[in-house]
Amino acid sequence: MNKIYKLLIGLLVISMVLSGCGGSKTEAPAESSSSSSSSSSSSSAEATTETTFKDTLVIAHHEEPATLDPQYSNMISWFVIEKNIFNPLIDYIDEKYVPVLATSWENIDDTHIRFHLRDDVLFQNGEKMTADDVYFTFKRALESPKSASTFKTLDIENTKVIDDYTIEFALNMPDEAFFNSITSGRGNIVSKKAVEEMGEAEFARNPIGTGPYMVSEWISGTQIKLVAFDGYFNGVAKTPNLVYKFIPEASNRVIELETGDVDVALNLASSDIARVRDMENADIVMVPSYRYTTLTMSMKDEVLKDKRIRQALAYAIDKPLLVDVIYGESADALNGVMPTNAIGFKEMEPTEYNPEKAKQLLAEAGYENGLILEFQVDPGSEYLDIAEIIQSMWQDVGVTANIITMDRPSYLAQGNEYQISVRAGNANHPSNILIIYDSAFGDRIQPNDDYIDSALNEFRQIYDDADRKVVLDELQDYLWDIKYTIPLAHTKTIYGLSNNIGNFVPDPLGLVDWSIVTVTE
């Protein structure tokens, strides 16, 4: 699992080197300024250089958030901005939970967890952050339809504020996933006073958090401008201004990077990787995300209930080719039921591409003369591309998949009234990833499989890593074998970075802390 860690470090080094290269490419007289801009803030051993920093970092973002209120957010692209305005109690870095606003925590028993908070944290309105704010944050999370299910095990009635800097969470049941939940953006701590004074609608536009930046100007549909919060507990941000420009077209984010109008372009398309690499002033940084795509089949469907058919469909997909065509280098073929960097991921033996075997299985199931299926596709993202290629691959084994597209709301409104579909998941905790197989989850797959239901319920209650792994591994093996879904690809998050960016630490989801990043002129 420290593959990712290595990758992160590697990329960091690469980005440093590249930023160095960028400097030398300009052939400016101050050749030595190329010497790692990333470390220049602290180490100025080389007295000859005088690196100048830009006061504004401009980021091309693909989507405008509807709100910057963390408990009312549910899109990664919104959390990307909120990351720089708020902080959670703890974070998950390098496969372990690390303190942020909390200094330490302990399990009192299976259902009670006590957090000790930092006493030096200020909100951007000047108020001190206390346990009251934390309590308030989680209480409102349970009132928000966007966060309630994330914290469904939290028993807010019995959660107690012990003192200003201590809070004890009570849970309905033992829940290891709770830690993961509070690291998610929905667990970002908001200022109780600010919310109550402003009201929700106003807070959504001018949020008050504890983070390094605060909103200074939000021009709807155009950009959000953040300014550094000088009372940030973790040290004032290196760059005073942060601007998120909303540029919906991926190719235009690339152009902005090329023309130097932005310093960073988020969420680039795989087709743009080569172009950015060819640029003199910018480069690509790629890290595995938590996003994976998978083919889902409805277990309410009589045909697909037959495991042989599901297996046949899996054998008929040339996964490496599919992933290469759709994603190029921006994703890897996924052999497992979770993204490879998810907590507790188990790598599986790849299902070989074997059309003969597929035909044979179909014949066994009574479909030697072919099979007609409906492939319902959400027109967004890459789903349609995937469907078209799979359609063609299945055609070779006699399976005709009729693609039906409709607008996204109609698609979602159909619930589980479908045969086959493609979806993407975006999470790193097994509880959140595998919930799609849960009978209680309702839509989509609906296997109504007692084993899965009990295993899902069981493992999140185990706090011991080793014990949990046993249950989880077994569940993953089962899911891989039973093939309610055919996992396809694990995608990467692609950053386009201008060479003047230093000290950049990529995040799988794009939740980059820009306060530590430097931008040279």
Partner: protein
């Protein structure tokens, strides 16, 4: 004329009621659940139920509609956006200036180009100039906006570095989007001008004007153009109206915060208050544009002018029994 204006403005009320009802009806019976759209496909049933309550989606159709209209009439409240929780009116008003500017600029541009080229084309029918203009207009109308927009960005922003690739804040930002949109409208206006002018310049009164010794320039621009204007005004009015409803692709490509993308996003999110508010807003704008077009008709063509005054005295006027005013 004043009475006519007053009557037309009064007529906007049933139009707006009609629009709001049709849209309300459509949105209510269109598949798709705003709660699911907002929460995403990972939402649980409880989340969705909670959202339904917060958005008051469970009320019957007519109750929702009546409340909606009542809030507008009594409080001027167009509701709040499901997604951003901001007042719908604010959301629209932030974006409208951009849309208006973009529409206005591109219409001005396309009128100047379209009418000039159309006239040149008509007066030199079948000349090389006419053929070239015709060919360019076909390209203009069949070239997709996004393609043209991308090409303009690549040439003028990336290669030449003259103009900014996106945004809409300064006049420099306005050029590329206005050109992108203006091209296809210009092509349409050009074709319409050409055809209309071809009709007109064959008329006897053009020969009369020439026989007076009037210069060709004035014959074309004063005598002929004014007669050819009616269909041109119609097309210009239509494309201006259409553009005020937003130009989705161009807005996306140039990252302009306009009505078009707002509306498409709202429809795709089933953000009904915003959809309804937006459609009402567009309806008002369209009605005003159409009213202006009708007034222009009357201004340009005295025969239409008499039709807008009442019917009974029209006949008398034509018989020469009473004066016009």
């Amino acid at each position: 004329m004043l009475r006519f204006l007053f009557r037309r403005i009064l007529m906007m009320i049933p139009v707006l009621l009609g629009v709001s009802f049709v849209v309300f009806f459509m949105s209510y019976f269109t598949p798709g659940d705003p709660a699911v759209m907002i929460l995403g496909d990972m939402a649980t049933q409880e989340d969705i139920q909670m959202m339904h309550e917060q958005l008051k989606l469970d009320e019957p159709f007519l109750v929702q509609y009546v409340n909606y209209v009542k809030n507008i009439v009594t409080k001027g409240d167009f509701g709040t956006s499901y997604t951003t929780k901001q007042p719908v009116l604010d959301e629209l008003l932030v974006r409208f200036p951009n849309t208006f500017k973009l529409a206005g600029l591109s219409v001005i541009l396309s009128v100047i180009i379209g009418i000039t080229v159309g006239i040149v084309s008509a007066t030199r029918q079948y000349s090389i100039l006419d053929n070239v203009a015709t060919a360019i207009s076909f390209i203009g109308v069949s070239m997709p906006n996004f393609w043209q927009g991308m090409m303009l960005i690549i040439v003028f922003s990336v290669w030449l570095g003259w103009l900014p690739p996106s945004g809409f804040s300064t006049p420099m930002h306005w050029i590329l989007p206005a050109v992108t949109i203006g091209t296809s409208s210009a092509a349409q206006i050009m074709r319409m001008t050409r055809s209309s002018m071809l009709e007109v310049i064959r008329q006897d009164y053009i020969r009369t004007a020439r026989a007076k010794g009037q210069s060709e320039r004035i014959v074309i621009w004063r005598h002929a153009l004014k007669n050819a204007l009616i269909p041109i005004i119609t097309v210009v009015g239509l494309s201006f109206g259409r553009l005020l409803g937003g130009a989705v692709l161009t807005e996306s490509i140039f990252s302009i915060a306009g009505i078009g993308k707002l509306m498409v996003d709202a429809i795709n999110m089933r953000n009904y208050p915003l959809v309804q508010g937006g459609v009402l807003f567009i309806a008002i704008v369209m009605s005003v544009v159409n009213l202006i077009v009708d007034v222009l008709y009357a201004y340009v063509d005295p025969r239409i002018r008499t039709q807008f005054t009442t019917n009974s005295i029209r006949k008398k006027i034509r018989l020469g029994e009473v004066g016009d005013e």
